[in-house]
């Protein structure tokens, strides 16, 4: 399966940093990046080549689809996906960002907290299109990796255009990098700038 990273609308050096963060701690055999300008195309291609990926670029609807491949085989299907995962029309209304800082909700009993947090994630879709991004930090990253029951729920959110982000340092700390199931790896810079971009930040 391909990871598709949407870097449209970003200016240098942001696309390169997004690609670098996506590759940090993981050994993807193939990555597909979409960008919308020539400088970003060149820079992302240079970065992937620098990371020993073979690079192939296709143009589609005015966007560049850059495929970096480590096994040397670039399949046409993977490059010319009609509706690449992760490329959505930008929602222009209010943006809500949810920051999940723990595996448990609230203080008291952790078992109860686990159940509450799972229920919270399950109910997040009720926020509707205003839900823009959910970022998981500290023990919260347990929801996006391994055999967490929240994974299919979060995949549904991704399918409806919500951005799921997981703190890379936290995944590494809990040894969950290898088993990341949903969303993209992020860092503190993106979390902080995301807070600035969002109209409302909800921390649980």
């Amino acid at each position: 399966m391909n990871d598709v990273l949407d870097c449209c609308g970003l200016e240098c050096p942001a696309p390169v940093l997004r690609v670098r963060d996506a590759l940090t701690g993981t050994a993807l055999s193939q990555i597909v990046v979409t960008v919308d300008n020539e400088a970003a195309r060149q820079n992302v291609s240079r970065f992937l080549e620098h990371q020993n990926y073979q690079v192939h670029t296709a143009v589609q609807d005015g966007l560049f689809l850059i495929t970096g491949s480590r096994d040397g085989v670039v399949t046409t299907e993977s490059v010319c996906v009609a509706d690449p995962v992760g490329v959505y029309p930008e929602y222009s209304g209010r943006k809500i960002m949810v920051l999940v800082t723990s595996a448990h909700m609230g203080r008291g009993d952790d078992d109860l907290g686990d159940m509450l947090m799972f229920n919270f994630i399950k109910t997040l879709q009720e926020m509707g299109p205003e839900l823009w991004r959910v970022a998981f930090v500290n023990s919260g990253v347990s929801f996006v990796a391994g055999d967490s029951e929240a994974v299919p729920l979060l995949q549904e959110l991704v399918a409806s255009g919500v951005q799921i982000r997981a703190c890379g340092a936290c995944l590494a700390y809990f040894h969950l990098l290898e088993t990341l199931q949903v969303g993209e790896i992020t860092n503190m810079l993106e979390i902080v700038t995301g807070m600035k971009l969002a109209d409302t930040v909800v921390t649980v």
Partner: protein, 348 residues
């Protein structure tokens, strides 16, 4: 990552000379304009030189230039210094002596503290003081993006103007500052530049070309320009195209900032470098073996870059030695003027 408030670079889209309108597009706006004719206009728009020159008498001409841009460093005082050094540079590149200046300021006074503007202006004033230039006034407009620069007027003797033209075969080309300010600025934005590299680049951009110009003044200089937004090869192309000569550049001799080649390899290259390459790449031949990272670097847009000076081969080494002794420590011979291929640049 060094992120000390107020993060000036985060408030703007493109900083420094990288924010220039691309040359190919600018040509479309200027082409066919009905320009006034005056016998005393010694260097005007049609020559696309560093500054305009107007003859007042047989002994005296005015050099005039204007330059301003959004911040490329986070510290307001440093930004003020760099913007002023960059604006003054065009006068030095013509062989003139800057005398008076006017501030040009755009500032979002509703969203940023006015003390930031004060620091920018202090940085600019300090450079003007160093250059012996008097600030006569200025103009400030409300704008969502910070921009600062100067309009500068200087003196020059009408017979001692150093233009971009008049390269002679066998001249040597001397560059007086390291290349890579655009790539380093991109690395700073990416949070990858070590503080000491960022500080070294900031210092270089804030350094006046005054000393380099003063040392060069005693030599028989055939042509001179300063390296800014169009990059090393972009500005060199302006010297070469139409000169009837060619130029051979030795890329290994080009002075570079620490780590820039590594950052270029990682794709931390400002968009302006690609614009410069697509505009002027057609007149440049890279000999096999010149790595792509070096090719990118030679088109990297520079902010407040060094002078590029053409002098006879016989005096080139002496001039470099004198520049280094005067504190222009990065000065180096980077190429030579050749009889052929005419109007082209060969990089080896």
């Amino acid at each position: 990552m060094s992120t000390v408030p107020p993060y000036l670079t985060r408030t703007v889209k493109g900083g420094g000379c990288a924010a220039k309108i691309p040359p190919g597009i600018l040509d479309k706006a200027l082409c066919g304009l009905d320009l006034p004719v005056d016998d005393n206009l010694l260097v005007g728009l049609e020559r696309a030189d560093d500054a305009g020159i107007y003859r007042v008498s047989d002994e005296l001409a005015l050099v005039q230039t204007v330059d301003f841009f959004p911040p490329m460093v986070d510290d307001p005082y440093s930004f003020g210094q760099i913007a002023a050094a960059n604006a003054l540079s065009d006068v030095y590149a013509m062989g003139g002596i800057p005398k008076t200046a006017l501030n040009i300021v755009a500032f979002p006074s509703k969203t940023l503290d006015i003390s930031i503007l004060r620091s920018i202006l202090e940085g600019g004033l300090d450079k003007m003081r160093e250059a012996g230039v008097v600030l006569m006034g200025g103009h400030t407009v409300e704008d969502p993006e910070i921009k600062y620069g100067l309009s500068v007027t200087g003196y020059i003797h009408p017979d001692r103007i150093k233009t971009k033209q008049n390269l002679l075969v066998d001249d040597r080309l001397i560059l007086t500052k390291c290349l890579g300010t655009g790539i380093v600025s991109t690395a700073i934005k990416a949070g990858l530049a070590a503080p000491e590299v960022a500080a070294a680049v900031s210092l270089s951009m804030a350094t006046l070309n005054r000393m380099a110009a003063s040392v060069m003044g005693a030599y028989e200089v055939h042509a001179c320009t300063d390296i800014t937004g169009f990059g090393f090869l972009g500005h060199l192309a302006e010297m070469v195209v139409g000169s009837g000569t060619g130029v051979r550049i030795t890329s290994a001799a080009i002075p570079l900032f620490t780590d820039v080649l590594e950052w270029a390899a990682m794709g931390l290259i400002p968009a302006g470098a690609y614009t410069n390459k697509s505009y002027r790449g057609g007149v440049v031949d890279f000999v096999d073996g010149v790595p792509r990272t070096m090719q990118d670097l030679l088109f990297d847009p520079q902010t407040s870059g060094g002078l590029l000076i053409a002098v006879p081969a016989a005096v080139a080494e002496q001039l470099v030695a004198e520049l280094i002794a005067a504190g222009v420590v990065s000065a180096a011979i980077v190429g030579e003027v050749t009889a052929s291929p005419v109007d082209r640049i060969v990089v080896q």
